[in-house]
């Protein structure tokens, strides 16, 4: 009894510091010091974490939507006059290549300018969160750029000039196709084959065949299959039950990403959302999960860190919030577990997609 009481005390003492988190994301959106240099090429993902974080907090009113939308669109790779760079289209992570901001029309060919699949994904999500109608997105070229990234084995590169290839970029590709409501951007069957091939003997998913199973890659696998609407087709009930077991065993207090590794706030989302997609998140221990996430909260500057007494960063701040949202924390918006945006932003997307379908049905061609 006494033990239970002190557990409740602990539970009550950890307050969720909403306003600090709002300010944490606001500061993230402004200026970061030079020691964040390694984030330069992925700045668009940082914007996504901050914007989606503010959305989950229902605090988007603190930002200037239009200037932010313009900035995001400045990262879209414009097709050249002769369309010779289609395979390089999509969104960039930042202005690091040096393309002038105000370039709007078709440009001269730049030998090294290209999009990055994770930036196209987070760019589209960020636009949706800001309430944009995606009308300035060049869907044709984004999808052309996407197709150019898929390999024979079904996985994707991040960039057309080549990079590592694995399941993370399948997830980005699936999200892009889902958002644009157009699966011509990828060969679904090949992607499914790669995903199945990444299923480990221990029933989690690795980054590719033979590799160690991991909470992040398991999320990418399951979320991709859900977005493709092929979950039950790609995996048998027996396999799904085994995957459920692997995932639910990740809870130690919060969640870790691999057996015998320490717990880390971000896995409260990666594994939590996977469990939600597999309909068994309800069987996890919400209290212990919540206690752990809040133990990584930075009381001074806001945000969350991967571990207690560590420095917060935008990724863990965002995913910590999403982890709390999954367990129904008060005053946090619900998160769409496969797309990783709020339900609100998702509903905006659904409305947009309905408009697209209506206009294409009403149009001369009536083609999908």
């Amino acid at each position: 009894m006494a033990e239970k009481e002190s557990q409740l005390d602990e539970f009550e003492q950890i307050y969720f510091l909403r306003d600090r988190h709002v300010r944490f994301f606001q500061r993230t959106l402004q200026v970061l010091p030079e020691r964040y240099a390694s984030l330069e090429t992925t700045r668009l993902t940082i914007i996504f974490f901050a914007l989606s974080g503010l959305d989950v907090l229902d605090a988007l009113d603190v930002i200037d939507r239009n200037t932010m939308i313009d900035w995001i669109y400045s990262l879209q790779v414009i097709p050249t006059e002769d369309e010779s760079n289609l395979s390089r289209c999509g969104f960039r992570g930042s202005s690091h290549i040096g393309i002038p901001y105000s370039k709007k029309g078709p440009d001269v060919f730049h030998p090294y300018d290209s999009g990055h699949v994770a930036m196209t994904y987070t760019g589209l999500c960020s636009l949706l969160i800001l309430g944009d109608d995606l009308s300035r997105v060049n869907k044709k070229t984004c999808l052309a750029g996407l197709r150019a990234l898929q390999l024979e084995d079904g996985s994707f590169y991040a960039v057309p000039e080549g990079s590592e290839n694995d399941i993370r970029f399948i997830y980005c590709a699936a999200s892009i196709c889902y958002i644009l409501d157009d699966w011509s951007g990828m060969d679904i069957q090949k992607a499914i084959d790669y995903i199945r091939g990444s299923l480990s003997y221990d029933n989690g998913f690795g980054q590719g065949a033979g590799r160690e199973s991991h909470g992040g890659w398991t999320y990418c696998a399951i979320a991709s299959l859900c977005l493709m609407d092929r979950l039950d087709e790609a995996l048998s009930q027996r396999e799904l039950n085994r995957i459920r077991r692997w995932c639910i065993m990740r809870q130690q207090s919060g969640f870790h990403g691999r057996p015998n590794k320490p717990v880390d706030t971000c896995y409260s989302f990666w594994v939590g959302a996977t469990l939600e997609l597999l309909d068994v998140f309800q069987y996890t221990n919400f209290d212990k999960n919540r206690s752990f996430i809040l133990s990584t909260q930075d009381q001074l500057v806001g945000g969350f860190a991967k571990w207690p007494d560590s420095h917060p960063d935008p990724l863990h701040a965002y995913l910590g919030l999403c982890g709390l949202s999954l367990i129904g924390e008060a005053d946090l918006r619900k998160v769409h577990p496969a797309l990783n945006i709020t339900q609100r932003a998702f509903e905006h997307l659904q409305q947009l997609q309905q408009t697209w379908r209506d206009s294409s049905n009403g149009g001369c061609n009536g083609q999908h």
Partner: protein, 368 residues
């Protein structure tokens, strides 16, 4: 006297040159006299005067702007200038090394460096030494490992890889990039011979190293395979020995189950008995979960007569796990018990705890 005059003339000459150079830093001439070993920005270097630096352009309202020092901006302004004209030169190659030192995560710099290495036919063994040093400093960066893989491929020489990766793993035995690179090298160049020995060394150092267990499965499945009963029995014995040394080890149990789950856990001769024995002295949630899985497998393959006894044992395990041995997953074990009962328990009287609590009700977990 003449020395002084000459110096005066030199001063005048420098001054005139500076005046002619429109981009001259006004402070330069003083510093030039005081300290000729001062770091020179690229914009101050004569050998770079032909190139127009290209600044980063984030427009009027930059988002997540990183505040770079003068030195950082200067290096990258010239990097962008080189990219624009796709210059292929020694000076470009040298600059990429400086850019990498400032931001080793910039994948465009690495790509451009690779283009230059090939264009200038550089010594790739020199490059191997270079990338070795960089990875030692930054072993969790995707770009550096990808670069190393490219150089190994160009050289078609994996001879340094296994030792190098072993060294990285000695600093962090679970580095996912290192293990991935190791698997690639072994598979690509067929270097299987000593890998099982390597795995065993690591498991001796830390029997809970999940990456090493994964590698064990990788090696065996790609060499002897798991169909040979001699191999299977050897591996079962290996697992049980490790479990006796460290019972609370999910990795060992995952390996055991993973190896056998598709050939019928309950049909492996003598295994169930050995595990039941271990239950008395080396119990763990993983052992109990394994027993549950054996019973579930048995239920699938037995007659209705046999099922009753097996179901009772399985449900006992669920209860033990839920109430005592794995309470964090209480709801999950209860759920599994209910599911099993529903499937096989037609003849069992419905009891109070067979009722399913309401699913997805927010806050229903507060009492746990």
């Amino acid at each position: 006297m003449s020395g002084l005059e000459e110096t005066s003339n030199d001063l005048l000459k420098v001054k005139r040159d500076q005046e002619l150079d429109a981009d001259a830093d006004e402070e330069l001439e003083d510093d030039f006299l005081v300290d000729s070993t001062r770091y020179l920005f690229y914009r101050e270097r004569k050998e770079w005067a032909d190139l127009e630096p290209v600044p980063q352009d984030d427009g009027p309202n930059p988002v997540v702007k990183i505040a770079y020092s003068e030195k950082f901006s200067d290096v990258f302004d010239y990097f962008r200038a080189l990219l624009k004209t796709d210059e292929r030169s020694e000076r470009a190659l040298a600059l990429t090394a400086e850019a990498i030192e400032l931001n080793a995560a910039n994948y465009t710099v690495w790509h451009y460096r690779r283009v230059l290495l090939q264009s200038l036919s550089k010594d790739l063994r020199e490059e191997m030494r270079y990338i070795t040093d960089i990875i030692e400093e930054q072993p969790k960066n995707y770009q550096v490992w990808h670069h190393r893989r490219m150089v190994v491929e160009w050289l078609n020489d994996p001879s340094k890889e296994l030792d190098f990766i072993a060294d990285i793993l000695s600093q962090d035995a679970k580095n996912y990039h290192a293990w991935q690179h190791r698997q690639w090298v072994i598979q690509e160049y067929k270097l299987w011979d000593n890998e099982l020995e390597f795995v065993e060394t690591l498991l001796e150092e830390d029997v809970r190293n999940n990456s090493a267990w994964n590698q064990r499965h990788f090696v065996i499945s790609q060499t002897t395979g798991f169909s040979d009963p001699v191999v299977v029995e050897r591996e079962i014995q290996y697992c049980l020995n490790q479990i006796k040394k460290a019972p609370h080890n999910e990795s060992a149990w995952n390996y055991l189950k993973g190896m056998l789950q598709d050939r019928g856990l309950s049909t492996q001769p003598g295994l169930l008995e050995r595990v039941q024995e271990l239950k008395e002295t080396h119990c763990s949630p993983y052992l109990l979960a394994f027993l549950f899985d054996c019973y579930e497998d048995a239920l699938e393959n037995s007659t209705e007569e046999e099922q009753k006894g097996t179901l009772e044992m399985a449900l006992e395990i669920c209860q033990l796990l839920a109430e005592e041995k794995d309470t964090i997953r209480r709801e999950y074990w209860r759920f599994l018990g209910r599911s099993l009962k529903k499937k096989y328990g037609n003849f069992v009287e419905p009891t109070a705890d067979a009722q399913e609590p309401p699913a997805s009700v927010p806050g229903h977990q507060e009492s746990s």
